[in-house]
Structures are given as C-alpha cells and as structure tokens.
C-alpha cells in the first residue's frame, strides 16, 4: 500500500456500518424472496449455533482447513527456500508458479477426488493446493531479496546450511514470508470451503450447498455471513501483525 491510511480504526468502523446499511438497503429492495435483513441473519445464526449439527459441520471444516494450512505452509516454505537459494531454479520456476497461480484450480478438483477419494483427504489436498503457491512465491522473493552482506557474514562464520537457514535466512525473510502465509491462509480457507461445496458430506461448504437445494435462504445467509465474518476478522488480525513486522 502506498499511502498509509489515516485513523484506520475509525475508517474500519465507518466501512462496517456502511456495509451493513448496504445490506439492509439491498434487503429492502430485493425483499423476503431472496434475502434476509442483517438482524434476522444474526438471530438465525445465533439459533443455529445452539444446534449440535452445526458444531459438527464447523469442526469438520476447521479440521480440514487446519491440516490443509499446515501442509500449504510447510511445502510452500520448502519450495520457496529451495528455489530462493538457487538463482537459476528460482528464475526458471517463478513464472511457471505464477501461471499455475492464475489457473482456475477448481477444474483440478475431479482429479483430486479421483486420487484421494471422497472424504476429508480430498478436501485437505484441495485446500492445500490453493495455499502452497502464494506461500512459495512470497518465500522465494523474500529469500532472494535478503541483503548479500547477511549471507556473507554467515559464510565468514562458516555456518552449515541448517544453521544458515535458521539463524540468518529465516529471520531476515520473516516479514515477507508472513505476508505469504497471510495470503495462503485466505486462499486455503477458500479452497477448503469450495471443496466442500462441490463434493462432501460434512462441513460448512456442504451446509451451504444443501441450503441451496432446500432453498433455505436463512441458512444460506447465515453460513455466508459466518464465513465472511471469520475470513475478514482473521485476515484483519494477520494484516495488523503483517504491517507491524514490515515497519519494524
């Protein structure tokens, strides 16, 4: 971001109030047929949270999401460091990773289903492939942009590769890597929920698809609201940490 925003807290409040007003207005225009008001949605969500089934679905999504995120971060860091440390590999693979990043990954879902079978492992794999590339790309650039003097210092002290990564490369690259993890977090969540929407028997994505076939607008609105709320608030938190890391 170029211009630092003034009074970010006040702006966020204005934005949230504005979004709720927009929602209420859309509800007044479209009506009961297709929308619910913010208040009705929150109340329905409150009731939903008192049922056991909801918590089972939520737990299922969270379980798949956590596993997918762990895999995405671990593999992304590994690929990023490997490519970042080797100039030619990094230069050759970066544009290829960028084009992989831009393909509609949802088309790969049938392949993943055929490989992993219908179940939680397919969801995890699908979430993970969304997150790996951004983590890898940010890590690659972070490692590549480390000041040469730091690496030279490490060489002078004759550090072995493991200590070099742990004591010098990783700490120097942390702010950029964190940005990658933040982006990876969002994409992994989207991937996991998408996977559930297409083929699953549990989870919030499944709940959402089920609600469409039942034309249950209350449920569609409540689950959508919950997903957006969760994604936006975690991302807001990560963004705050991210900015602090970048500005020292």
């Amino acid at each position: 971001m170029q211009g630092e925003s003034r009074a970010p807290f006040r702006n966020t409040v204005i934005l949230i109030v504005g979004l709720f007003l927009f929602w209420e207005l859309a509800y007044l225009v479209v009506g009961e047929v297709a929308l619910r008001s913010p208040w009705e949605t929150i109340r329905f969500l409150g009731n939903l949270m008192r049922t056991d089934v909801f918590w089972l679905h939520l737990a299922d999504t969270l379980k798949a999401f956590t596993a997918a995120l762990a895999i995405a971060v671990a593999l992304g860091l590994l690929i990023g460091f490997a490519l970042g440390l080797h100039r030619l590999s990094g230069d050759a693979m970066e544009p290829m990773l960028v084009s992989l990043y831009s393909i509609p990954k949802i088309t790969l879902y049938p392949i993943i289903l055929l490989t992993f079978g219908l179940g939680i492992s397919a969801k995890i794999a699908f979430g993970a492939i969304h997150g790996i590339i951004p983590v890898a790309l940010f890590t690659l650039n972070a490692v590549r942009n480390i000041k040469p003097i730091l690496i030279k210092t490490g060489r002078v002290f004759k550090l072995n590769p493991t200590v070099m990564v742990r004591a010098i490369l990783f700490p120097a690259a942390v702010p950029e890597i964190f940005t990658g993890i933040r982006v990876g977090f969002s994409l992994t969540l989207i991937g996991t929920v998408l996977g559930e929407m297409f083929a699953a028997q549990h989870g919030l994505g499944y709940l959402l698809m089920n609600a469409i076939s039942l034309y249950n607008i209350d449920l569609i609105m409540a689950v959508t609201f919950l997903l957006v709320l969760f994604a936006a608030s975690v991302n807001g938190l990560l963004l705050a940490i991210d900015r602090r890391l970048h500005h020292g």
């Binding site: 925003s5 297709a34 050759a92 960028v98 998408l194 929407m197 994604a231 975690v234």
Partner: protein, 250 residues
C-alpha cells in the same frame, strides 16, 4: 536466457514424461487418469469434431463479459477514487481484506436473486476481478511523478483530460498488470461457478463428466481450460515485460 528456457522446458517435459510413465506402468490406474498422450489425442478429436463448442463459447463469452466490465469499471473507479482521499481511506480495509473473503459463498445467494443463468456466473467473475483492477490502478496513479501533474495544471487540463492524456498512459504497465489479474480472476469466477452449479459451460461439462466417470471428456476439457488460462497469462506477461523493458524499468 536460453539456459533458463532449457530448464523450464526440462521441468515441463520431465513432468509429462513422469505422468506418462506412471500411467503406463499402472501406478496411476486408468480409472484415475488416462496417460497424457491419450488426453491430448482426445482433446484433438473433441475439437475436430466440434463437440462442446457451445459450452466453450458460452464460458469464454462470460469470461470476457466479466473481464471487460470489471476492467472498465475498475479503472474508472480507481481513477475517481484516487482524487478522494477520505473515501479511499474508508475503503482501504475493504480492499485489504477483500481477497480473504470467499466470494464463491455468495454464488448461492446470487442464484436465488437472479436465477440460474449466466448472470450469477458473470457477477462472480466480475466481483473477483474488479477489486484487483481498482487496487492496481490506485497503485499506478500513486507513482505518477508530481512534475507530470504540474504539467497538466500548467496546461489547464480538465480532470478527464489529465486522466486520459497523462496519468493513465503513465500507468500503462500497471493497467496491464490489472488486465492480467482481472482475466485470471474472471476465469476463476466463471469456470468455478459453472462447476458448482450451472446448466452449461466448460466447468459444468467437467463436473458432469466427473459424475459419469467419463474421463475421455473430463481430462481433455481440464487440459483445454489449463492451456487457455496459461496462454492468456503468458501473453499478457510477455506484453508487460516488453512495455517495462521499453521504459527501462527491468
């Protein structure tokens, strides 16, 4: 440069050969995936026979509609927003969080409101694409040197003239990046929503073929989508590099 190309070629060729070997050796069974040469053959047959041209055309038309509308509106919004500091500050948290929001979660809602047609699919593609365009345009406009703005003022250009003759041309590389992002997002949005729920389109045909265990249709179509999106991306990336090289920025 050529060493780089050899490396890239070796990676792609190695990957395809590995898949081919695994399929032929039976490590990957036929029900999971046909060998790559069969997929390519099926794709040629499919294209020569003209099958799925309707679906391909519909998907591409929707992608272009989503891309075009998001791009034009995004550049206009970005240009206007650049002049209003307060509005920009207020929207800033939205832009920063936007891509964390699962936009596909709104697809069911749009189907309920607009019905199961092209509208919701284009809208998802549009919504995914537009914010990237706005943010990239703002980013580019931030980098316009003050001397150019001063020149505009000295020549008493109207805001519209300033944007069209000075600031937007200066931002051309950014506008190209915006186009690249918008196209990728429009693709993801349209194909993804067809995949979740639709009556036609490439995404729909893939999910339909999957349900019917029709690998001879599914894999060629997946390959086609991958090739199309990678080709579009590479083309715009290439153009971007040429533009940057001409300006001596790379």
């Amino acid at each position: 440069m050529s060493r780089l190309r050899i490396y890239q070629f070796a990676v792609i060729a190695g990957f395809i050969l590995l898949l081919e070997a695994l399929c032929l050796a039976g490590v990957i069974d036929k029900i999971t995936m046909p060998p790559p040469h069969i997929i390519v053959r099926d794709l040629f047959r499919m294209l020569l026979a003209g099958r799925y041209f309707g679906d391909i055309g519909k998907s591409l038309a929707n992608v272009l509609l989503a891309f075009g509308s998001a791009y034009v509106l995004g550049v206009i919004t970005g240009t206007i927003l650049h002049g209003y500091r307060t509005a920009r500050d207020i929207l800033d948290p939205l832009f920063a969080t936007y891509y964390a929001i699962p936009v596909f979660a709104f697809y069911p809602l749009f189907i309920v409101i607009f019905g199961l047609g092209d509208g919701p699919q284009i809208l998802i593609g549009f919504l995914l694409a537009i914010v990237a365009v706005i943010v990239t345009t703002l980013n580019g406009l931030d980098r316009v040197p003050p001397v150019l703005k001063k020149t505009a003022r000295v020549n008493k250009l109207s805001p519209l003239q300033t944007a069209l003759r000075i600031t937007l041309p200066f931002c051309a590389p950014y506008l190209l990046t915006a186009a690249k992002l918008a196209l990728a997002y429009a693709f993801i949005g349209v194909i993804g929503s067809e995949f979740i729920m639709a009556r036609a389109g490439m995404g729909y045909e893939i999910s339909y073929a999957y349900t019917n265990f029709d690998n001879a249709t599914m894999y060629p179509l997946i390959l086609l989508i991958l090739l199309l999106s990678i080709a579009a991306n590479s083309l715009l990336s290439h153009w971007e590099r040429v533009l940057l090289a001409r300006r001596g920025q790379k």
